[in-house]
Symmetry: C2
Subunit: 406 residues, 2 copies
């Protein structure tokens, strides 16, 4: 099959659209602005024609593209546009979209495109940042709504602290029916998936968003784990099978992690870390960003502290605090705070002074209390009555002392 | 000498004012609103007269006090005011302000009052919250301006993490000529003073603000330390010698710690902790509040994380970040960030894609790079030129590879 069969082909429009987007994903890097303008101007099918050189561009198209690009990237002239439209030529010989679609089927997966029932609405909400398609290994089932998903991201070289925190958070989120979203790397990513798989009650406990093709479970040390993620959750990517996970693709992949989740939590990150890029994407999308604090002596928490200090991230220490961000309306679980209210909370200043003046062992007379507390006898008597009612003071033959509760 | 000698006495007005305030500090708890209204209405000397019953109050005074109290605490009627004016009677027999002033001299200290050259301006800035006087053990020297002082506060039962962080911060602040302000307790307070004393180049390296009288160095385990603080810095309190450090006085003491410093840093604190009360005072005064993050598994950091999450505290991890808050105009030292900028920072997306495509070992032809990078041959050649200039790419007989720098 050649590229020609993509553009003009069967009467099945959806099938052609799918093959066209599979082809475009092979030709173009994620977020290729000229390529995306071409798709907006002509639709995916004719965009493949122009990108492969089958259809000629012409001055009218170039003018439209210039306008679209100015729209997307600010006013600028595009003198290099004709050359840009030939940029994809070197990759044309490798085009085989039907083979790529077959590969996904063989791996038990699929390719989904905007307009499919399975296409997540939150990716369409990205506007110009929407991926052309998603390559997907895993069960055929709806991905969670954005409100039901939380991204846990962080360093590859996580510490034992970061690992255990990530595992606990992922387990707790999955137990409450939330989906965890992360990358496929060692460290925080791997701990996030393991925790979610062990706690999972959600139909999709966890999603791994890959920077390279999903035909290969990379890195190889995570192969078994990512296989389990694909079995119970989903392993997805916007780049086609066989694509290497380049630095550029990692940065673009991060926007998809951020887009799928209502909160992006950075658990551990160095001062410079890809996780901060994910947090930045989330912030740009108006999504909540959270960071887990850690020791100031740990270089692996420096990025988290940087986000707390500069980046507008919220400090979170448990699942409850994360879920408050996921549903700010307060519909999430209430906070559980382990320290109970102190017995003297809410006392007036005078009663607090009086309580301070009460001895714990041998009881004091009202007269002595007036001296110690610096209150009038009337005030002492009234205050003792109130403290007695609260169980904070007790009288013994006309003298008063504090109770153990106080 | 009796209280009478305070009110009518020598012609030395400052001396009388000083003795009157010493007497009022003995009669009234800190922030006694009726007492403070009395001082505002009559001045300190006549206020002692009324408080001791030497001068009768009268309806006109009661009306004026009612107005002042309504002013300070919001509109309310004060039916109990005549009784309130007798509240201090039980403490009158213990009054001996001249003895208290003598005690301070014997201890190598003094009492200072508003209007004294030594009175810190930042306490007058407190308005109604200004203390009546300060009892002070230490050298006779100016206390630092608010911009030169940082409060370090936290739990009594600090962990080794909290202790070492506090010591490092206090040492670093003192080394840069800043004064550390804290309480006199075990834990964070003690570590703050020890660190400041060891690093001190400031004339007043550290100040301990006590909740009880400064005649006694309490708790006894800190006696040697507090003696060293008095020798090199200052130990101060608003309550007179012999006063016990009650819970109420601790809460009021905290406002003085907050008032003396431009930044209040909570290093370690439980979910409920007096240190949070100090932070609250600082916030109310419009001063900067900072918190040091720690392990989410440590109960001693829960209060810090609470402040970061709810209290508007800034996350700080070193002295530089604290000093940014002390002088927000940016006159403080620059941040030192240990990770250098990555060589690929600031590259265009196309050049980043090209860099990703360059092999590290055997060099690639331009033709091969066009395929791997998905860029036109012209774009690859131009990009290679730019990367070459930056020292990120190098050519070998017409083929290109990445340098180690990239």
């Amino acid at each position: 099959m050649t590229k020609g069969s993509v553009v003009v082909g069967t009467s099945d429009t959806r099938r052609n659209e799918r093959l066209a987007r599979a082809a475009l994903a092979r030709l173009m890097e994620p977020q290729d602005s000229v390529g995306l303008a071409l798709v907006r101007a002509l639709g995916a099918i004719d965009a493949v024609g122009v990108a492969t050189g089958e259809l000629s561009a012409g001055a009218a198209l170039e003018q439209e593209l210039s306008a679209l690009l100015a729209d997307a990237r600010g006013p600028a002239s595009w003198p290099g546009l004709p050359a840009s439209l030939r940029r994809w030529a070197p990759r044309v010989p490798d085009l085989a979209p039907e083979r790529d679609v077959e590969t996904m089927k063989r791996l038990g997966g699929r390719i989904i495109i905007p307009g499919d029932a399975l296409w997540p609405q939150q990716l369409s909400d990205l506007g110009l940042q929407e991926p052309l398609c998603l390559w997907w290994r895993g069960q055929e089932q709806d991905l969670p709504a954005v409100s039901q998903a939380v991204a846990l991201v962080g360093s590859r070289d996580s510490t034992s602290y970061g690992g255990s925190v990530t595992g606990d958070l992922a387990y707790g989120l999955a137990q409450r029916g939330y989906t965890v979203v992360s990358g496929g790397a060692y460290g925080i990513d791997a701990h996030a998936h393991r925790g979610a798989l062990s706690g999972g009650v959600a139909s999709v406990p966890t999603i791994a968003v890959m920077a390279g093709g999903v035909d290969r479970f990379y890195p190889s040390g995570n192969e078994e784990l990512l296989r389990a993620v694909a079995n119970q959750g989903a392993v997805i990517s916007e780049v086609p099978p066989g694509s290497a996970p380049t630095r550029y693709r990692f940065l673009q992949r991060n926007r998809i992690i951020a887009a799928l989740a209502s909160v992006t939590v950075v658990v551990e990150a160095r001062w410079r870390s890809g996780a901060l890029n994910t947090a930045h994407h989330a912030e740009t999308m108006g999504r909540a960003v959270a960071a887990v604090p850690g020791s100031i002596h740990s270089a692996n928490s420096a990025g988290c502290h940087r986000l707390l200090r500069e980046g507008g991230a919220v400090c979170v220490t448990d699942v409850g605090e994360i879920l408050e961000l996921a549903s700010p309306s307060g519909t999430a679980m209430p906070r559980d705070v382990d320290s109970p209210a102190a017995a003297h909370d809410g006392l007036s200043l005078e009663d607090l002074i009086l309580l301070d003046a009460l001895p714990l062992r041998s009881a004091s007379s009202v007269e002595k209390l007036t001296v110690v507390a610096g209150l009038s006898a009337d005030a002492v008597r009234a205050g003792l009555g109130r403290l007695g009612l609260l169980g904070l003071a007790v009288s013994e033959r006309g003298a008063w002392k504090r109770t153990k509760k106080a």
